[in-house]
């Protein structure tokens, strides 16, 4: 969009703000000039470009693809000589169980949707490591924006099975008060913004939240250093919002970690039809952002990369980092999709068998002697029991209070809404035998102001 502001036509005085002083953000472009006989270009838009006497276009295919970092291989064997696991045995097992929990919950809820007990569900099979391992490298104070396939992030940060179920069944304990489709989780306690349907809109918002964290800490250095983690898929990266987000985060030096789950498919569209460049990672470099591509099926690689990303994001007063985690969407896109219409069943089976993030960490744990078949069976059985228990409990809970339908359209109830609430209350008083409030929390009393 082009905006013509009269003021921009005038020469503006250079504003010296705390931001520009603290960071390498000085607006020196105005004083640039081309010196005679220099070997480098000194235009404001390209500061270190050497002159060339050969007219030649750069061809993307002449550049090798960015490498994919692995700490352990498909067999769970360590391949990075510098890799040192930095978790206790209990912690590794806890994270393994988080992945297992998400995967078991997904299977049960997918079936529950098929049985008509839920209107909708989205599974994350094949991508458990990306969400659990990235989350493991963040602090509780960090702020998270998810897309919609990051159950693992919620689980790792302390979302209980009951929290998932309460949202899915839109009962009285659903923090969203039953206003959202299933899987639109959110948690103030865990610093995770509520999932919003429109794709990629979370990305510029994440840059903005990171900017806010940075300014807050400038104003109050006592605050702990914090970053924002923003999740998205490779399909979402085609939206304009993705590009806007990366560019604004880079130019405003925002401490945000962009985490791309490149799972090969955007509903039916394979990555190869989504873009022609070297994945999403190559774009980070274009925006001047430090970038890594990791094997998203490798729990340790993803964790190591995110630890480093957090460190980088807090350097130099804050800057964005991009992680592209390569995975495979084993699952259908959602309960609304049958992916075998556009990909071979054998392709999916192959990935499930050959390389799966849960199996890979399990192999590593077994090689360390901290896990075995027996423990696996026990863990699976107990998680399954817990999921079903939480499921049954949530299904039984009451619906949100009637008054909730008037609230939160605006911060305060408007006079109109108050009048409507009163009217409803009077109506219900007049015809008590016509309505059953039994299934709503607090019954009719919730309408009393």
């Amino acid at each position: 969009m082009k905006r013509i502001r009269p003021s921009s036509l005038l020469r503006r005085p250079v504003r010296v703000s705390p931001t520009t002083l603290q960071h390498v953000h000085r607006r020196t472009a105005a004083s640039l000039s081309q010196r005679p006989d220099s070997t480098h270009l000194k235009f404001p838009g390209a500061l270190t470009s050497p002159f060339s006497n050969t007219m030649k276009y750069e061809v993307p295919s002449n550049y090798p693809a960015l490498p994919t970092y692995r700490a352990i291989d498909q067999h769970g064997v360590v391949v990075d000589p510098n890799f040192e696991p930095d978790m206790t045995e209990e912690d590794v097992i806890k994270h393994y169980k988080d992945m297992l929990t998400v995967s078991i919950m997904d299977l049960i809820m997918f079936d529950a949707q098929r049985q008509g007990r839920l209107s909708f569900y989205m599974v994350s099979a094949g991508e458990e490591a990306v969400s659990v391992a990235t989350a493991s490298a963040l602090t509780k104070d960090d702020v998270v924006f998810c897309q919609y396939r990051e159950q693992g992030v919620f689980k790792q940060r302390g979302f209980e099975l009951s929290d998932f179920m309460n949202q899915l069944f839109a009962n009285v304990k659903d923090p969203g008060k039953g206003r959202n489709m299933p899987v639109h989780y959110g948690s103030r306690e865990l610093n995770i913004h509520t999932i919003s349907s429109p794709l990629a809109t979370q990305l510029p918002q994440a840059s903005g939240a990171a900017y806010a964290l940075k300014i807050q800490r400038m104003q109050n250095p006592e605050m702990p250093p914090r970053v924002v983690a923003a999740y998205f898929g490779e399909g979402a990266a085609s939206e304009g919002d993705f590009h806007a987000a990366l560019n604004i985060a880079a130019t405003r030096s925002c401490p945000v970690i962009f985490i791309c789950r490149n799972n090969g498919y955007a509903i039916s569209t394979p990555s190869l039809e989504q873009y022609r460049g070297d994945g999403i990672a190559s774009r980070g470099l274009g925006y001047g952002i430090e970038t890594i591509r990791v094997d998203g099926n490798d729990f340790w690689a993803v964790r190591e990369a995110t630890k480093k990303a957090r460190e980088l994001a807090l350097q130099d007063g804050g800057k964005p980092v991009l992680i592209e985690a390569m995975t495979y969407r084993v699952s259908h896109h959602s309960t609304s999709d049958d992916s075998f219409a556009y990909r071979a069943r054998v392709e999916v089976e192959d990935w499930k068998r050959r390389d799966n993030p849960i199996a890979r960490l399990r192999k590593w744990m077994e090689s360390k002697g901290i896990w075995d078949e027996q423990k696996e069976k026990e863990a699976r059985d107990s998680i399954r029991r817990d999921v079903l228990k939480a499921f049954a409990e949530a299904e039984k809970l009451k619906k949100p209070a009637i008054k909730n339908m008037f609230e939160d359209v605006y911060e305060e109830l408007t006079p109109d809404l108050k009048a409507q609430m009163r009217e409803l209350s009077e109506h219900l008083d007049r015809y008590p035998e016509e309505y059953d409030f039994g299934e709503f929390e607090g019954g009719k009393a919730s309408l009393e102001q």
Partner: protein, 378 residues
């Protein structure tokens, strides 16, 4: 925009909805059961009338225009390989190839811009949005480029483009995906906006949109795709078009004029029939078909006969299509009104996800009937 609000979600939801709003209630649909996703074209009867679903009608319109004019092509998310998120573009890739039926990356502003660019260069693109809710990412392209370039370029750059996709609420998809954009696009000079109800509407208006040299916004309705309607022999021909700016009187009457559009036409017809049965009143139902230009002449002509008017639509009440109809009625037909004109619209709330509340957020046959009873003081 969110990719996961996909047809099957609506299928599940439709099943749910149809239990609540039985399609059999409509005497106007000779085939009551709605089976989405299934092609249901039947053999012609003696008069040449065939049953078409709205989906089939749209599909036929697209196929005929692709066939007749090699400047026409379709692009959008999932329109080719997947046959369209709602199967409106079924078989078109196989028939016309990948130069004419094009899958795009998930970038509404990108592919809408690309389509407008192609139109400014002389092609006649049909740009599908998976739903109009997602087109909000592209509204700058539609409003500031498609609608204005002809004017701003001094008339040298026409933009023959058709934007189409489902509009309005579906079922169980929450506040961000249940919006009706009729009033938004209807307010923009430079755009033409149509909204079909029946299969004939769908075919005739879409074909007219593709042939029209201006940018046209076609607001379809997801809940209508699987509905069947009789299609006349004339409408089955490949040169059938419905002129813009011309409303259709779907049912004639002398006691009340119901002005409505899209899915609400069917609901209004049911309400009209019930009003006849219960109260013996004759309600005239006008299917707008075209939002911009708006056929105020037909509305006022009807008002002169009935002296009472009610507008019915599923958009938000404030600054909406009904508000416009009531204002125009007041401007051109005030002296013919025997009672204040009234409107039945969607509720002024973010659309609730809860099924019961969602049901109450939009006009039903019952609300239309009740409001008419009030207006007529029956």
């Amino acid at each position: 925009m969110s990719r996961y609000l996909r047809p099957a979600a609506r299928l599940a939801a439709t099943a749910r909805t149809s239990a609540l709003r039985p399609a059999t209630a409509s005497p106007f649909l000779s085939r009551a059961a709605v089976i989405p996703g299934v092609q249901r074209r039947t053999y012609a009867d003696a008069s040449g009338v065939k049953e078409y679903t709205v989906r089939d009608a749209l599909n036929e319109a697209l196929a005929e225009e692709l066939e007749q004019n090699d400047k026409v092509f379709i692009l959008g998310e999932e329109v080719a390989q997947y046959n369209g998120a709602y199967k409106v573009t079924k078989n078109l890739l196989d028939r016309f190839g990948e130069k004419r039926v094009i899958d795009t990356p998930i970038t509404e502003s990108g592919f809408a811009g690309l389509a407008i660019g192609a139109a400014l260069s002389g092609l006649h693109p049909v740009c599908e949005f998976m739903t109009w809710n997602f087109a909000m990412q592209a509204i700058d392209q539609i409003v500031n480029s498609a609608a204005k370039t002809l004017y701003m370029s001094g008339g040298i750059q026409p933009c023959n483009i058709t934007f189409r996709g489902p509009n309005g609420f579906a079922a169980g998809v929450g506040a961000q995906h249940s919006q009706d954009f009729s009033a938004w696009y209807g307010s923009i000079p430079g755009l033409k906006v149509v909204s079909p109800w029946s299969a004939e509407d769908a075919k005739g208006l879409l074909k007219a949109a593709i042939r029209d040299p201006n940018p046209v916004v076609v607001l379809e309705n997801e809940l209508m795709y699987g509905q069947s309607f009789p299609m006349s022999a004339e409408a089955q021909k490949d040169d059938f078009v419905i002129p813009f700016g011309k409303a259709k009187i779907e049912r004639s009457g002398k006691d009340l004029t119901l002005v409505t559009l899209s899915r609400c036409v069917g609901q209004s017809l049911v309400a009209a029939e019930n009003l006849k049965k219960k109260y013996g009143v004759d309600v005239e139902v006008i299917n707008l078909r075209s939002i911009k230009p708006l056929d105020i002449e037909t509305i006022i002509k009807s008002l002169k006969k009935t002296h009472r008017l009610m507008a019915v639509e599923s958009g938000f009440p404030a600054f909406g299509v009904s508000a416009e109809i009531l204002a125009l009625t007041m401007e051109y037909g005030f002296d013919y009104l025997d009672a204040p004109a009234a409107r039945v619209t969607g509720a002024d709330v973010p659309t609730p996800y809860a099924q019961g509340l969602e049901e109450m957020s939009f006009p039903t046959e019952g609300t239309i009937e009740q409001q008419a009873v009030k207006l007529l003081r029956l």
